[in-house]
């Protein structure tokens, strides 16, 4: 038979990882962020367990600041897959009025994402959580294991990681410990897009260029998605043909001007572009080695 292509190998590896978790975890969950990586991860899970439904629920940590189209897409996915979907919001954060405009991206991300995720994992006693992070995204992720252990208070100790040999994963853990599992560790951004294209995976339409209302904020264009943008920025409101390279909280996610309206267009644009993917996200710029610090504190 013909040799497997690199995408076939990556797919087989991810599926093997997911099945190991299904076989060994007590109460696994799949973190679902509604973005393209989550879409691929979910698609792989559907393949891994067909004709069964994946034997774990989905969990969305909802900051309440996602794009409206993401919420619509989330509902559609839950219905189409028939999988249980948990949505968790940090109510204390909501009550304190934390929001990305007034509180800043660092506080908002910490309270509404990092703390919220810990709350949700504790609440449901999930012992293993799948995440869609890839090693090519960022330097500290390049050194993280596929099965990455967290202490009872969800901290990551980069100096004390278990060696991972062959495809054999040691999933034994002490009471209170949990594991983050990253089945897409060895995928690159291009692999993700190519796979979405080949497998015809449905993604949130925000990835495709369209004319959208935007305002200028923090040296980015952000989309006017609801009426919570402070008045002062609304003065710069304008219509532009834009798309999003990553999806998160709309005030923290910069739109890029683009006319790429199909998957091949997007891939072409990505290959010809000269800046890395996470530049559209505000959180990585906060400080040097900021992602590593956030991860130690429990950020996915």
């Amino acid at each position: 038979m013909a040799n497997l292509t690199h995408l076939q190998r990556l797919e087989a590896e991810s599926i093997q990882i997911m099945r190991e978790v299904a076989a060994e975890a007590e109460n696994p969950v799949m973190l679902y962020s509604i973005g393209k990586d989550s879409a691929v991860m979910l698609h792989l899970a559907l393949k891994a367990f067909y004709p069964s439904r994946p034997p774990f629920p989905l969990l969305h940590v909802d900051t309440t600041w996602k794009f409206q189209e993401m919420y619509k897409f989330r509902a559609k996915v839950a219905e189409e897959t028939g999988m249980k979907l948990y949505v968790h919001t940090n109510q204390e954060g909501v009550e304190q009025g934390i929001n990305p405009f007034a509180s800043g991206s660092a506080v908002h991300t910490d309270v509404m994402k990092t703390q919220a995720l810990k709350q949700a994992l504790d609440l449901h006693k999930f012992d293993v959580a799948f995440g869609g992070a890839r090693r090519d995204e960022e330097k500290s992720r390049a050194k993280e294991r596929i099965f990455s252990f967290r202490t009872a208070d969800h901290r990551w100790d980069p100096k004390n990681q278990r060696p991972e040999l062959w495809k054999i994963y040691n999933t034994r853990k002490a009471p209170g410990q949990s594991i983050r599992v990253f089945p897409l560790s060895n995928w690159t951004e291009l692999d993700i897009w190519q796979y979405i294209y080949l497998e015809k995976i449905d993604i949130v339409p925000l990835y495709y260029a369209a004319e959208r209302p935007v305002v200028e904020y923090n040296n980015m264009y952000i989309m006017v998605d609801d009426d919570r943008i402070p008045e002062e920025y609304m003065k710069t409101k304008q219509m532009r043909t834009v798309r999003f390279r990553t999806l998160g909280c709309y005030p923290l996610t910069g739109a890029v001007e683009s006319t790429a309206a199909t998957l091949p267009d997007i891939i072409q644009e990505m290959l010809l572009t000269t800046t890395s993917e996470r530049q559209g996200r505000a959180i990585d710029h906060d400080q040097s080695a900021s992602m590593e610090k956030k991860k130690q504190e429990g950020y996915f």
């Binding site: 599926i15 004709p51 000269t274």
Partner: protein, 636 residues
Amino acid sequence: MAHTSDLISQDILAYLKQHEEKSLLRFITCGSVDDGKSTLIGRMLYEAKMIFEDQLAALEADSKKLGTQGEAIDFALLVDGLASEREQGITIDVAYRFFSTDRRKFIVADTPGHEQYTRNMATGGSTADLAIILIDARKGILTQTRRHSFICSTLGIRNIVLAVNKMDLVDYSQSTFNEIDESYRAFAAELPALDNIVSIPLSALAGDNVTEHSDNTPWYSGKPLMEHLETVEVEDALDEAPFRLPVQWVNRPNLDFRGFTGQIASGTIKPGDKIKVLPSAKESTVERIVTMTGDLDEAQSGQSITLTLNDEIDISRGDLICKADEPAETGSQFEATILWMAEQKMFPGRTYVMKAGPQTAQLTVNSPKYKVNVNTLAQEAAKNLELNEIGVCTVSLDRRISFDPYTDNRETGSFILIDKLSNATVGMGTLHFALRRSSNIHWQATEVSKSARAEMKGQKPCVLWFTGLSGSGKSTIANIVEKKLTASMVHTMLLDGDNVRHGLNKDLGFTNTDRVENIRRVAEVSRLMTEAGLITLVSFISPFRAERRMARDMFEKGDFITVYVDTPLEVAEERDVKGLYKKARAGEIQNFTGIDSPYEPPQNPDIHVNTVDLTAEQAADVVIEELGKRGLISID
């Protein structure tokens, strides 16, 4: 990602088609700390146009601030990820990098060079098809080079690139290059697996022979590094090898469907093929190869699949599906190579959890036959293995597993070892062969069962394991308990530590290794006693948690009762009934528990008696009472 291929801008669909058909090469880079590994990887990423403009800008800024190359770009900074490492200026863990060219996608494991992190190199190497071994042209072959080559050989990495780096610092001398090449080949000839060695003269810093032939080395006629990586044949013979599917998970959505999932370790399979399941040796034929997008006509090595069979046979996680005419072997005792990866050394006699693919077993290591001096490849005598040591051992499992020798199949011949208490991965190993005695001695099922024997005596068997310091009163209490039980017509047996050392264990001393074996034997004997239906009392210092746990694990749940005879060291030493503490303090006895060897108290003993507050008689009553509570004996 500024790929330069014109296809991207001119015909993206054609580009996607080309990229879709790329193959994958996984490789590792290894070498000594200053050989320039990170620089080489950074250079490869740069040459493959995998560095974005913003990353390049950050890199240029970092290079000026932290770099070691003056105003020039320090490619190593691109690769050295974690913050603390950046300060130290060394890579401390395995980092994975990705790049692709027009022909291949590459996954690089950047593995550390300094000695204490050999385990990370093994981690990166276990999945690699090829290894780049870096050598500083000025220094030639070092201890590290030998060590890394030996590990590559142990891991079965056949393809080696000897990257003779820093050629710019030896004036691109052909004779220097040839000398290194020749002495490496002479060394590597002793290593079995390395059968495709290619040497390339390089300067990662200056870019010589990385992507293009360098004018500085007109005498070098081989391929530049990148071209070699793009074209080297690694498509292993795995498709040709016998079919192996380690079962990961049984898929049962409803009563009508029973699928066996796993990633094919080797070979190919088609519907209709006759299969044999190990270790049960039951046979059937393949019905379907099921996927979400329709059944497959054939599946091959590397694919994650779901099989259904034509017969309802019992298959669960850990079983191995083979083609019926070329099954794998099974065994429960093996010769294996073990690489030790933990600070705490390997304890012969101690039981570890073994994971071999989806199979799990309890594994006991015997003393190493020898360890390998990785610098000279000499076989040396060894009593145990320390961090980063590699040895050949025999291992015994608590159950039969299926396997292939590692040299035939990396996936069905490999395993990891896990410490039961810390859950850390402490070792990795490769299986050589099953020992004859294990394949020939079968477990004999006996017809009279443990419960039948116990019922005849009208009692429930268990073991009472008394642990505590020497002089704590274990034997005294155990004696009183046995007298009381016998008076109540309960059948018992008492095994005393001192007494057993006069007979069964008279060949054992007091080293840690011998203590472990001492306890293993006593645990085995007391297990036989409970099989016979007896309440067995064991009076044993048994200072180590791991060994008490090993003993406990041999018994059915509830059959093993730990009695912690708790006496402070001062009190036991004060009593010093046998005068042993005095001798130990005087240095006349070595390895004496409490003095120069630790006692690890049980964390959750079933029964805890404190002999400062209780007399031996009272302590015995506490034990008897607990037996009553557990329904093991009836108290009048």
